[in-house]
C-alpha cells in the first residue's frame, strides 16, 4: 500500500440513516465501508467491521430513528468502540441530529442532563471528534472535551428562500422565544422583517396559548425552528399567523423528527409546506405528507468530512452551502 493511501477516510454507516451515508459517500467519491450491524435474538447489538480501519480516519454516520433513539445510540457507541479497539487513528462521530439534545439542563430537581451523559458516553466509547448539525443549544458543545463541529442548515435554508420567494414578501417568524436568535439571523441575512410567537408550555409535548409579537399581514410567514417533533407548536403557530393576516405560512425546520401523529397534524394544518433537511431519516413520511419538502444536507456534511480529513477550516460552511 502506498504512503498516500495510508490514512484515508473510512465512512461507516449505522443502521439509522443509510441513505444519508450513501449520499455523503457518493459526494466524497468513496464507498461506505463494509460493516454490518445486527441485533442478536437477546436484543444485544453486534457490529462487525469487514475491512481494516487501522490508522485510518474513521467517520461514523449515525442519526436518530424517530421512536427508537436508544437503539441507534448504543449502536453508535459500539461502532465507535469497535473502531477504537481496531486501532483507528481518529474516530469522528457524525451525528446529524444529536440525540437527547433537548435534555440539556436541570430544569427540575433531579432531572437528568441526558445530553451531557450522551456526550460523556461518546467520549468514553472513544470518539475523538464530533460533527453535528444545528444543535438544539450550542452550549452542548461545552459538554464535550473533544472538538465539536456544529454545522448549520441556515445557508441551505437561505438558498431555499431566495430561490422560492421574494425576500421583501417574507416575514421570518420564530415559533418560540428560544429560537429567536436562529430566526433573526436568517431575517438579517435576507434583510426581511421578523416576528416572534410567545407561547406557554404547561407540559412536554403539549402546547399552550400563543401570542404574536410583530406583524405578518399580507406577507409570506416563514416559521424557522431547529426541530419539528410532534408539530403541535408549528401548527398552532401557523394558525396564529393565519389569524393575523399572513398570506401563506410555511415552516423551515432542520430536524424533521415528526413523531407521534405529526403527519396527521401537518396534513390537517394551514401550513402550506414544511421544509426539513434529511438529518433524520424520513422513511415514508414524504409520501404520507404532501406538504413535506426535503433539502439535502449531505453536501454540507460531506464537505465538513473532507475538510476535517484534510485539516482545512470548516468555518466556510457556516455561511455557505456547497451546491
Amino acid at each position: 500500500m502506498s504512503a498516500e493511501m495510508a490514512n484515508e477516510i473510512k465512512l461507516i454507516s449505522g443502521r439509522s440513516h443509510p441513505e444519508l451515508s450513501e449520499k455523503v459517500a457518493k459526494r466524497l467519491g468513496i464507498e461506505v465501508a463494509r460493516t454490518i450491524s445486527l441485533n442478536y435474538s437477546n436484543q444485544e447489538t453486534s457490529f462487525t467491521v469487514g475491512e481494516s480501519v487501522r490508522d485510518e480516519d474513521v467517520f461514523i454516520v449515525q442519526s436518530t430513528i424517530t421512536g427508537d433513539v436508544n437503539e441507534g445510540l448504543m449502536e453508535l457507541l459500539i461502532m465507535i468502540s469497535a473502531c477504537r479497539t481496531a486501532s483507528a487513528r481518529r474516530i469522528t462521530a457524525v451525528i446529524p441530529n444529536f440525540p437527547y439534545a433537548r435534555q440539556d439542563k436541570k430544569d427540575k430537581s433531579r432531572a437528568p442532563i441526558s445530553a451531557r451523559l450522551v456526550a460523556n458516553m461518546l467520549q468514553t466509547a472513544g470518539a475523538n471528534h464530533i460533527v453535528t448539525v444545528d444543535l438544539h443549544a450550542s452550549q452542548i458543545q461545552g459538554f464535550f472535551s473533544v472538538p465539536v463541529d456544529n454545522l448549520y442548515a441556515e445557508p441551505s435554508f437561505l438558498r431555499y428562500i431566495r430561490e422560492n420567494f421574494m425576500a421583501e414578501d417574507c416575514v421570518i417568524v420564530s415559533p418560540d422565544a428560544g429560537g429567536a436568535k436562529r430566526a433573526t439571523s436568517i431575517a438579517d441575512h435576507l434583510n426581511t422583517a421578523f416576528a416572534l410567537i410567545h407561547k406557554e408550555r404547561p407540559r412536554p409535548n403539549v402546547v399552550g396559548r400563543m401570542v404574536l409579537v410583530g406583524s405578518v399581514e399580507d406577507k409570506v410567514a416563514i416559521l424557522v425552528d431547529d426541530m419539528a417533533d410532534t408539530c403541535g407548536t408549528l401548527v398552532k403557530a401557523a394558525a396564529v399567523l393565519k389569524e393575523n393576516g399572513a398570506k401563506s405560512v410555511l415552516a423551515l425546520v432542520t430536524h424533521g423528527i415528526l413523531s407521534g401523529n405529526a403527519i396527521e397534524t401537518l396534513n390537517g394544518s394551514v401550513l402550506s409546506a414544511l421544509v426539513v433537511t434529511n438529518t433524520v431519516p424520513l422513511g415514508d413520511k414524504v409520501q404520507r405528507c404532501p406538504k413535506l419538502r426535503v433539502i439535502d444536507i449531505s453536501p454540507t456534511i460531506a464537505e465538513a468530512i473532507r475538510r476535517t480529513h484534510n485539516g482545512e477550516s470548516v468555518s466556510y460552511l457556516f455561511n455557505h452551502a456547497p451546491v
Partner: protein
C-alpha cells in the same frame, strides 16, 4: 427498616424491585420513566436522593415493552440523574449483566464467518433440534449426530407441530433458493428494525439473513467483531455508577473491566438448595456441563455436593466446520442415571436442548436443567418445550412470568430477591458480603 437508602427500579423487572423493597422494608423510590414520542427516554426522579445511598435495579434483558438497549440507556440516565441530584453513592444492580458474553461468530478455517439462515418457514413449528442448518445444497438436516438416528424426521410425523405449514423447521428448499437467488441485497446497512417488531430468529441467525449472507469482509481481512463488554462497563462508570452488583457473570473477567468495585453474587447456593430439596436421590445423579466452558461452574457444584460429574464436548471435525451442528460427545457415564445440566445462561436454548438430547440417547432417565439466567430469546421456549429436558430451573434474574406461562410445570423459578436484598443491606451497612458467596 433501612435508613438513608433509596431503591430505584427501571422498567425491566418490576417484580424483583417489589420483592427487594419488601425484604428491605421500604417503598421503592417514585420516579417517572417513560419515553417521549421522539423515542428519547424520559426520566424524572420524584423523591429526594441528596446524600442518599442509591441502588438502581435494572436487569439486562429486553421486555416490558422496551428493548435491551432502551433499558440500558434508562439505567445510565437514572444513574446520571441521581449523581447530578447529589446522591452520595449510586450502585447499579444488574442481576443479569448485558453484553457479558463476548460474541462468538463461528469461523471457518479460512477466517470467514459461518452465518446460518433463519428458518423462514414454519416459525411456530419447532422440534428441539430446530437448529437451522447452514443453507447449502446437500447439507443433511441434522448434521449434528453423525452416529445417531435423526430424530427430526421421526418427530416430523408426531403431533409436535401445530398442523399448519411445513413440519420441518428447516426446509432444504430454503437453502437452495438462497444460493440460487440473485436478489440478495448488497447493501451493507439495513434500516433499523421497527420497534417491537422482532420476528423470531435465533442468536446466531440474524434478522435479515440476505444481507448477512451478502456481507463479506474485504479480501485478506479477517473481520473485526465489536466486543461490547468493556464498553458497557465504561459506560456505567461514565454515567456515574460507584458500585456494581451483579450475579453469575458469564465471564468473571468482566469484573476486571470496571474501575469500580463489582460484587459478583452467585446463584450457585440457590441451585444447590434446589438439588438437595427437589431432586430425589440426588447423590446418585450426575452433574453435567453442557460445554467445556461451563465445566468449572458445574464441577464447583458437583464437588461441593459430592456428586459425580460428566461433561459434554463439542467435536469440531475437519468435515463439519459448523459449530452449532458439530457432533457432541459425552465424557462420563449417564446410563440409567438422573442428569442435572448446569449452566449460567440459556439464551436460544440450543446448547442445553442439544445436550439433553444427547443425554437421553446415552440412557439418562431424567434430565434437569439448572440455569442462573433464563433469557430464552427467539424461539428458545418452543425449543425447550419440545426438548428432552424434564425440568427446567432458572432464577428470576430475568422476568420469568411469560416463560412460566408458556412452559407451565416444566419450569421452576427460584427467587433471587433475598440474595439481592441481603447484598444491598450489607453493602449499605458496610458489612462483608462474602458470606453470600458461600452460604448453603
Amino acid at each position: 427498616m433501612v435508613r438513608n437508602i433509596v431503591v430505584l427500579g427501571g422498567n425491566s423487572h418490576p417484580a424483583l424491585l417489589d420483592s427487594v423493597c419488601n425484604i428491605l422494608g421500604m417503598p421503592a423510590c417514585n420516579r417517572i420513566l417513560t419515553k417521549f414520542s421522539s423515542g428519547e427516554s424520559r426520566c424524572e426522579i420524584q423523591d429526594s436522593v441528596r446524600g442518599k445511598d442509591v441502588y438502581i435495579i435494572q436487569t439486562g434483558s429486553g421486555g416490558n415493552g422496551s428493548k435491551l438497549n432502551d433499558h440500558f440507556m434508562d439505567l445510565c440516565i437514572m444513574i446520571s440523574a441521581c449523581k447530578t441530584g447529589s446522591a452520595r453513592r449510586v450502585t447499579a444492580v444488574l442481576p443479569c449483566f448485558p453484553y457479558s458474553r463476548q460474541p462468538d461468530l463461528p469461523y471457518k478455517k479460512s477466517g470467514a464467518p459461518l452465518f446460518k439462515a433463519g428458518s423462514e418457514s414454519g416459525k411456530k413449528d419447532y422440534t428441539f433440534d430446530s437448529v437451522p442448518a447452514t443453507p447449502a445444497p446437500g447439507v443433511p438436516r441434522s448434521a449434528g449426530f453423525v452416529n445417531g438416528t435423526d430424530i427430526t424426521n421421526r418427530l416430523n410425523k408426531t403431533s409436535l407441530t401445530n398442523g399448519t405449514g411445513s413440519m420441518s423447521p428447516v426446509k432444504q428448499t430454503n437453502g437452495e433458493n438462497y444460493f440460487n437467488g440473485n436478489g440478495i441485497s448488497q447493501s451493507v446497512a439495513s434500516p433499523m428494525p421497527v420497534p417491537g417488531n422482532h420476528g423470531s430468529y435465533t442468536t446466531h441467525d440474524y434478522e435479515n439473513v440476505s444481507h448477512v449472507v451478502a456481507f463479506q469482509a474485504k479480501p485478506g481481512y479477517k473481520q473485526w467483531v465489536a466486543q461490547a463488554g468493556t464498553l458497557v462497563a465504561n459506560l456505567l462508570t461514565c454515567a456515574g455508577a460507584d458500585h456494581v452488583i451483579t450475579m453469575d457473570l458469564h465471564d468473571p473477567q468482566v469484573q476486571g473491566f470496571f474501575d469500580v468495585p463489582v460484587d459478583n453474587l452467585y446463584g450457585r447456593p440457590l441451585l444447590k438448595r434446589y438439588i438437595q430439596s427437589h431432586i430425589p436421590n440426588y447423590k446418585d445423579a450426575v452433574i453435567i456441563s453442557p460445554d467445556a466452558g461451563g465445566a468449572k461452574r458445574a464441577t464447583a457444584i458437583a464437588d461441593g455436593m459430592g456428586i459425580e460429574f460428566a461433561l459434554i464436548h463439542k467435536v469440531i471435525s475437519l468435515f463439519i466446520t459448523d459449530r452449532q451442528n458439530a457432533s457432541m460427545m459425552l465424557v462420563g457415564n449417564v446410563a440409567d442415571r438422573v442428569c442435572i445440566l448446569i449452566d449460567d445462561l440459556a439464551d436460544t436454548g440450543n446448547t442445553i436442548t442439544r445436550a439433553a438430547k444427547l443425554l437421553k440417547k446415552e440412557g439418562a432417565t431424567k434430565i434437569y436443567a439448572l440455569l442462573t439466567h433464563g433469557v430464552f430469546s427467539g424461539d428458545a421456549i418452543n425449543r425447550i418445550k419440545a426438548s428432552a429436558i424434564d425440568k427446567l430451573v432458572v432464577t428470576n434474574s430475568v422476568p420469568q412470568g411469560e416463560h412460566k406461562a408458556l412452559l407451565g410445570p416444566k419450569l421452576d423459578v427460584l427467587d433471587i430477591a433475598p440474595i439481592f436484598g441481603e447484598a444491598i443491606r450489607r453493602v449499605h451497612h458496610g458489612e462483608s458480603i462474602s458470606v453470600l458467596f458461600n452460604y448453603d
